[in-house]
C-alpha cells in the first residue's frame, strides 16, 4: 500500500485538519468531532441540511458544505458510518429552530446510526426529517432485503434539497423535494481496479489484468458480475441500459447527467464515456439539461466510473440551477 498518509488510523483526522486549513472561509470543524459545518451555521430562518457517511468518498460529503447545499457533513471512519453522537452534534450545530433534514445513503450502518441520532435529537425537541437515497440500480430493489445502495446520485439530492432550504422553505417542503429527487434519480457504477482502506492495508477485492466489475458499489462491495474489459462505448451502454430500464424516460424528457469518477479515473476517460452517453440519449430524444463530469462520490483510489441520471421537472431543474458555493460544487 503506497499512499500519501501519515498514520493509517489517523487519515480522517488529518484530512479534516487539512480541509479546514484550506477552506476556513467556508467551513469549520465542530471541536472534538469529525463534523464539518458551514462557517455561518446555524443560518437563521433556514432548515438545516445534513449528510454524511463513511470517509473515503471525497469530495463527498464535506466538499458539499456551503451556501445552497449542505449545512453539515458528518465524516465517519473510512467506509464506516459515523456514530450517532457525531450526527447529533451536527444536528444541534446547524439547527436554527426550523428543523433539520438528514440525507442518508441506504446502508444498514448509516440507517441505524442516523436513526439513533434522529431519535436523540427529537428527544431534545429538534424537528428532524430523514430522506434515504437508494439510487444504485445494480442492486435488486426488495423490501425483504437491505434494498438498494445510495451512490453518486446522492449529490443531486444534496444540491436540490440544499437549494430549496436556502430559499427559506419549511422542513416538510425540503423533505418533499428531497424525496422527489430520490424518486427520480438512478445510478450505476463499474470498477477497473480495487481500492485499499488505509487501516486494512490491502485491497478490498481483486480484479484480474483484464477484468472489470460491473455494478461496483462505492465501498468496494462487489457488483453484479465480473467481466473482461470492454470498450468505453460498451460500458456506457451497459450502465445506461440498466438505468433506463429502471427509470423509464420518454421522448423530450429532460435529465441531468452525472459521469462520476471513482477516484483514479482520468477526466479524459470520463469524457469518453460521456460521448457515448450523450449519443444514446440523443438517439432516444432525451434532452440533457446539464452534464456533470468529474469526481463527485469517489471510492478512495478506485478506477472506474458511475453514471447517474436525474429526471427533471421544472422545480427540480430550477433548484439544480440555483446558486451554490461549496468547495466541490459551485453554481
Amino acid at each position: 500500500m503506497k499512499k500519501l498518509i501519515n498514520d493509517p488510523n489517523q487519515v480522517v483526522d488529518d484530512m479534516l485538519a487539512g480541509m479546514v486549513e484550506a477552506h476556513s472561509d467556508k467551513l469549520k470543524r465542530l471541536p472534538d468531532t469529525n463534523v464539518m459545518i458551514r462557517k455561518d451555521a446555524p443560518v437563521s430562518g433556514k432548515v438545516g441540511v445534513i449528510s454524511g457517511g463513511g470517509s473515503g468518498h471525497e469530495p463527498a460529503h464535506a466538499g458539499y458544505v456551503g451556501k445552497g447545499m449542505l449545512d453539515g457533513a458528518v465524516c465517519g471512519e473510512v467506509f464506516t458510518s459515523p456514530t450517532p453522537d457525531q450526527i447529533l452534534a451536527a444536528i444541534q450545530a446547524v439547527d436554527s429552530g426550523k428543523g433539520v433534514l438528514l440525507i442518508i445513503k441506504n446502508y444498514t450502518g448509516d440507517m441505524m446510526n442516523f436513526e439513533m441520532a434522529a431519535e436523540m435529537a427529537e428527544a431534545e425537541g429538534i424537528q428532524v426529517a430523514k430522506v434515504v437515497v437508494n439510487d444504485d440500480v445494480a442492486v435488486e430493489d426488495s423490501t425483504y432485503t437491505t434494498g438498494r445502495r445510495g451512490i453518486a446520485g446522492t449529490v443531486f439530492v444534496h444540491k436540490i434539497a440544499g437549494a430549496l432550504a436556502e430559499q427559506g422553505a419549511t422542513l416538510a417542503e425540503v423533505e418533499a423535494v428531497a424525496k422527489k429527487t430520490v424518486e427520480n434519480v438512478r445510478s450505476m457504477g463499474m470498477a477497473l481496479t480495487p481500492c485499499t482502506v488505509p487501516a486494512a492495508g490491502k485491497p478490498g477485492f481483486e480484479l484480474g489484468e483484464n477484468e472489470i466489475e460491473i455494478g461496483m458499489g462505492i465501498h468496494g462491495e462487489p457488483g453484479i458480475e465480473k467481466t473482461s474489459i470492454q470498450s468505453a462505448d460498451e460500458i456506457a451502454q451497459i450502465l445506461l441500459n440498466n438505468i433506463l430500464e429502471d427509470l423509464p424516460l420518454k421522448e423530450h424528457d429532460k435529465v441531468a447527467v452525472m459521469i462520476n469518477g471513482l477516484g483514479a479515473t482520468p477526466l479524459m476517460e470520463l469524457y469518453i464515456i460521456h460521448k457515448k452517453v450523450s449519443e444514446i440519449l440523443r438517439e432516444k430524444r432525451i434532452h440533457i439539461h446539464e452534464t456533470f463530469v468529474g469526481e463527485f462520490m469517489t471510492s478512495l483510489e478506485m478506477a472506474g466510473c458511475s453514471i447517474s441520471l436525474l429526471k427533471l421537472d421544472d422545480q427540480l431543474s430550477e433548484l439544480l440551477d440555483a446558486q451554490a458555493d461549496t468547495i466541490a460544487f459551485k453554481k
Partner: protein
C-alpha cells in the same frame, strides 16, 4: 454461582483481546462480502470499551454494561456499532442496580440484548447476520439450567459456521445476493468471539452464573 462486576470486567478484557487478535481476520471476512472494515470497527470500539471500564469503578453490572454500550455506539460506527451498542444498552437495563447476576438475571440480560439487536437491525434468523449466532445461543441459554462453557462455545461456533451456506438478506452482504454464499458472516464471527470469550472466562474459574 453468581456473576459479578469483576467477572464481567474480565470478560470484556478477554473479548477485547480476542477481537484484537482477530482484527485482520474479521476485516478479511468483511472484504469478501462487505466493505472490509468489520475488524477495524470492532477493534477500535472494544479497545475503547476495555480501557474505559478498566479505569472505572462500578457499583453494579448495569452501569458497566451501559458504559460498554455507550462506548461501542460512539466508537464503532458502521452497522456493528449500533447493533452491539444497543445490545449492551438493553442488557444494562436488566442489570441496573445489580451487584451480581444469578442465572436468571444473566439470561434475562442476554435475552434483552438479543431483543435489542432484532429491534435495531430488523434481521431474521437465516438472513446471514450476527442474529444467526445470537438467536440460537440465547434460546439454548433459556432452556438450560446450567450454562456449560464447552457447550456454549461449541454451539456458537457451529452457528457461526452455518452462516457460510446462507444467502445474505440484510447488511452489506445482501447486495451480493447468491454470491454471498460460501463466505462466513463477519458479524457472526465477532459474535462467536463474544460468546467464546464468555465461555473461556467461565472455564478459567471466573465462574458461570
Amino acid at each position: 454461582m453468581l456473576w459479578d462486576v469483576e467477572q464481567a470486567k474480565k470478560w470484556i478484557k478477554r473479548l477485547n483481546d480476542k477481537i484484537q487478535e482477530n482484527k485482520a481476520y474479521l476485516t478479511e471476512l468483511d472484504q469478501a462480502i462487505g466493505d472490509g472494515d468489520h475488524g477495524l470497527n470492532m477493534a477500535r470500539g472494544l479497545q475503547e470499551a476495555a480501557s474505559k471500564i478498566a479505569n472505572s469503578h462500578y457499583d453494579d453490572l448495569g452501569s458497566l454494561f451501559k458504559d460498554v454500550g455507550m462506548t461501542l455506539i460512539a466508537k464503532v460506527g458502521g452497522a456493528s456499532g449500533p447493533l452491539y451498542g444497543t445490545a449492551f444498552m438493553k442488557a444494562s437495563l436488566v442489570l441496573k442496580d445489580r451487584k451480581e447476576a444469578d442465572r436468571n438475571a444473566f439470561v434475562a440480560a442476554f435475552s434483552a440484548a438479543l431483543d435489542g439487536l432484532k429491534m435495531r437491525g430488523k434481521a431474521q434468523v437465516g438472513d446471514k447476520t450476527m442474529i444467526d449466532v445470537w438467536d440460537p445461543v440465547i434460546a439454548w441459554m433459556k432452556s438450560h439450567e446450567t450454562i456449560r462453557a464447552n457447550e456454549l462455545v461449541d454451539l456458537s461456533k457451529e452457528k457461526m459456521e452455518d452462516t457460510k451456506e446462507l444467502e445474505a438478506k440484510k447488511g452489506r452482504a445482501a447486495y451480493l445476493g447468491r454470491r454471498s454464499v460460501g463466505h462466513l458472516d463477519p458479524g457472526a464471527v465477532s459474535s462467536y468471539l463474544l460468546f467464546a470469550s464468555l465461555a473461556e472466562s467461565f472455564e478459567k474459574g471466573e465462574s458461570a452464573p
